[in-house]
């Protein structure tokens, strides 16, 4: 079902095509932005809050932020999950947050929080793409 706010219904295929690329990229870089630029304010805000809360709770629990690596398979997958958070990941790496703490059990929960925040953000970015191409209202 199409929505009046959707560029695919405004008779401008070029704008719709551009939005189909820009929305998921924006949503990946800044959680919720892919929905904001399509005027889904409440959905965007809830997605932004969910991803950011998980990411920063993970950091506060002294979770580990994985860097690029070619080592253990689980470390590679951890990096793939983490980078799903977009700018949050790059900010955390540049500020040297997320060193991890193997002496605290809760830090392991934090590591999972950070990975899952990235994976949820990828789902949100795909959703922004679905809205842009008119598959979702």
């Amino acid at each position: 079902m199409a929505n009046a706010q959707n560029p695919t219904t405004t008779g401008n295929p070029a704008a719709a095509g551009a939005m189909a690329i820009v929305a998921p990229l924006a949503g990946w870089l800044v959680p919720g932005l892919g929905h904001f630029i399509q005027r889904r304010w409440i959905r965007g805000l809830l997605l932004m809050l969910s991803v950011c809360i998980m990411f920063f709770f993970g950091l506060a629990m002294q979770g580990k932020v994985y860097g690029f690596n070619t080592g253990d398979l689980l470390d590679i997958l951890g990096f793939v999950g983490d980078i799903g958070s977009g700018l949050l990941y790059f900010i955390a790496r540049s500020m040297e947050w997320g060193g991890g703490n193997i002496q605290r059990a809760v830090a392991d929960y934090g590591t999972k929080f950070i990975v899952v925040a990235g994976l949820l953000n990828i789902i949100a970015a795909v959703d922004a793409h679905q809205i842009a191409i008119g598959k979702k209202p």
Binding site: M1, R43, L46, L47, L49, S50, V51, I53, M54, F57, A60, M61, Q62, R104, V106, Y109, F113, V116, A117, L120, I123, A124, V126, D127, K136, P137
Partner: protein
């Protein structure tokens, strides 16, 4: 800033955030989103409670 969450409170925070994203992304109308988000949250938290009692029963 660091803080300690219990296993259960960490699971509840996890469930709340994941359920919100699942609800918004997996359904089309606001009503369905709320219902599916609540359903996922109940399954997450219910699963934690059931698994906790199962582990307690195994130990005892």
């Amino acid at each position: 800033m660091t803080f300690d969450l219990s296993h259960f409170s960490a699971a509840v925070v996890f469930a709340a955030c994941a359920s919100t994203v699942f609800g918004i992304t997996q359904r089309n109308t606001p009503r369905e989103m709320v219902r599916y988000g609540a359903y996922c949250f109940a399954l997450f938290v219910g699963g934690v409670i059931v698994a906790s009692w199962a582990m307690w029963a195994i130990k005892h």
